[in-house]
């Protein structure tokens, strides 16, 4: 941890916050310019939205699995709840207000289901918890297949589209900021202490069950939000989109980026999307190459791209220094 993040300023707009905001605004403007100038084709814009949705999903799952240490395999289940909630509301209320109400309802409903699922299952540990969450996600999917209102296996189509790049950026950046803030608070530290040593944590006064459930609910809420954004961008949702493989996809991003690193999750979502796009031209071999690449990367970097570290100004300076040092050596 560098001294900048540790020194908590006394005024509300302390400097690290301002700096973060500036970086975010810069990213937004750059991408917006790329869209205006058509450098980002319509196809790449779809990839961009997918990346953002994956970032929200991965950041939420990382809070549960990477930071609090509770292995969940049911993240797609919460995403589907958000997707269906928002879709059903916006189809009846096809206005921007309907969309906003849909998103809020998606977040709340996913959170409530997170509470119902989390309370009994979070008493389990490790593999048992993973299997229990996997089971719950399957139950949710089967319910959507069998309900009339969700139109069964055919799913919902013709969902009004409200999500565009500005909305997507707002929700993605908001998610990362909120979770990053949470982790720097005493509540976030309580979550991390459970991962480190549960017995020591409870002996030091951390109500471990409460914080496991809290992390699980927060992660579920963001998954619900990601689902809502997905439904509102892609017109169509089907139960099969939110199966076991979707949960695994999200877990891959989290593990690949580094369990316990938010910037790792963001980076991994981007890198994996780029790899996937580059492999498009290999058609049949695409998934094989993708899997092979994952295996190779995990062999050479088992702790993920970032380990449990975050990208910081100090780290960038270090990288910059070592690069310039190498140049000098060569010269």
């Amino acid at each position: 941890m560098d001294t900048a993040t540790k020194a908590v300023g006394t005024n509300f707009f302390n400097r690290p916050t301002v700096r973060k905001l500036l970086i975010l605004i810069a990213i937004y403007i750059v991408v917006q310019v790329l869209i205006w100038t058509d450098i980002l084709s319509a196809y790449l814009q779809v990839t961009l939205i997918t990346i953002c949705i994956n970032i929200i999903l991965a950041v939420g799952l990382n809070l549960i699995t990477g930071f609090t240490g509770q292995f969940s395999l049911g993240h797609a289940g919460f995403m589907s709840i958000g997707a269906y909630t928002c879709a059903l509301i916006t189809m009846r209320m096809p206005t921007i207000w309907g969309f906003l109400i849909g998103i809020v309802a998606a977040i709340i409903l996913a959170g409530i289901v997170g509470l119902i699922v989390g309370l009994p299952t979070l008493r389990l540990r490790g593999d048992y918890l993973a299997i229990a969450t996997l089971g719950f996600a399957e139950i949710i999917r089967i319910i959507f297949v069998n309900l009339d209102i969700t139109n069964g296996a055919a799913g919902l189509s013709g969902i009004p589209q409200f999500v565009n790049w500005p909305w997507m950026f707002f929700f993605t950046a908001g998610t990362v900021m909120l979770v990053s803030n949470f982790l720097k608070s005493t509540h976030g530290r309580a979550c991390v202490s459970i991962r480190e040593d549960e017995i020591a944590a409870e002996t030091m006064g951390v109500a471990t069950t409460k914080y496991k459930v809290t992390a699980f609910i927060i992660g579920s809420c963001f998954a619900g939000m990601a689902g809502a954004l997905y439904a509102s961008y892609f017109y169509v949702i089907k139960p099969e989109f939110f199966g076991f493989m979707k949960s695994i996809d999200i877990l891959i991003i989290v593990v690949f980026g580094g369990l316990g690193s938010l910037s790792g999750s963001v980076l991994a979502a981007v890198v994996l999307a780029i790899i996937s796009t580059l492999l498009q031209s290999f058609a049949d071999l695409r998934m094989v190459l993708y899997a092979l690449l994952l295996i190779v990367i995990m062999i050479f970097r088992p702790q993920g791209l970032m380990g449990s570290k975050e990208v910081s100004v100090a780290m960038l300076k270090k990288v910059g220094k070592s690069l310039s040092f190498k140049k000098k050596e060569r010269g």
Binding site: K6, V8, F12, N14, T17, R189, M204, G205, S308
Partner: protein
């Protein structure tokens, strides 16, 4: 009135009675030792007091500001809030976190801002975090660990890890501190330093201390009273001098009838 009174405390694991019928009374401000051969059940008593195991039977009562609180059956975090803190025999630090975060996590129960403030870093967050940082650094300063605040706990040398465990326990702002073999694995010089540290924190924080220790130089120097356990039972209790000459204690440590051996 005793700050801690334990009566008829018993713990069985299936058919095995690990601790039976333990009675302990500790007055406010006392420094009491709990000794006994390996496997006597000392750590089990600590685990019962701190709620890691629920007792099978018996009572644990903590007197705090005139309020009596029954601790048996409470969760460890509730017991911590009631004013009881401990260290562990096998160090249990948050290994992958910084020294500073280890201390700050222990202050969790005394931080009042809610989730909303945590998400948005509202003024209450800024104010409370500043207080926590100041108090943590003050504690680290007392134990000469300020320079290591950003170090990962796992990377500290053994003696400093033991010290950090004590700091972390103190950060919960306890009335009664339980130390489980604080001198284990230390050399004589480190042990001597630890002995004076324990005496010092007791003065400075107005603590009552119960300590498990195998190193008799520590126990005999600083403890005012000593309880001795063997095979899950209390076999003796008294001042260090009484304990030294107690035949049952000698028997427990050295075996029956030493002269015939």
């Amino acid at each position: 009135m005793a700050i801690l009174s334990v009566s008829k405390l018993t713990k069985t694991f299936g058919g095995l009675t690990a601790v039976s019928d333990i009675n302990i009374e500790i007055e406010r401000g006392e420094l009491v030792g709990l000794i006994g051969p390996n496997g006597a059940g000392k750590t089990t008593v600590f685990n019962l007091l701190t709620g890691i195991y629920p007792p099978t039977s018996g009572h644990i009562i903590l007197n705090h500001d005139g309020n009596q609180k029954q601790l048996g059956g409470l969760r460890p975090d509730m017991i911590s809030k009631a004013g009881l803190a401990r260290t562990f025999q096998n160090i249990r630090l948050f290994r992958e976190l910084s020294v500073l975060d280890n201390v700050r996590i222990a202050m969790h129960q005394n931080i009042s801002y809610g989730l909303l403030s945590a998400f948005l870093h509202l003024p209450s967050y800024v104010r409370e975090e500043k207080r926590v940082l100041d108090e943590s650094l003050k504690l680290l300063d007392i134990f000469d660990l300020t320079s290591k605040q950003d170090e990962m706990a796992n990377n500290l040398p053994y003696g400093e890890q033991r010290r950090l465990e004590i700091i972390r326990a103190l950060a919960t702002n306890p009335e009664l501190l339980l130390l489980d073999e604080p001198a284990a694995g230390m050399n004589p010089a480190e042990t001597a330093q630890l002995t004076s540290t324990i005496a010092q924190i007791r003065e400075q924080f107005g603590l009552t201390i119960l300590l498990i220790e195998h190193d008799m130089s520590v126990v005999m120097t600083i403890c005012e009273r000593i309880y001795v356990m063997d095979y899950g039972k209390l076999i003796a209790h008294g001042t260090p001098n009484e304990i030294k000459s107690n035949p049952r204690v000698i028997e427990a440590y050295l075996g029956e009838d030493v002269n015939n051996a």
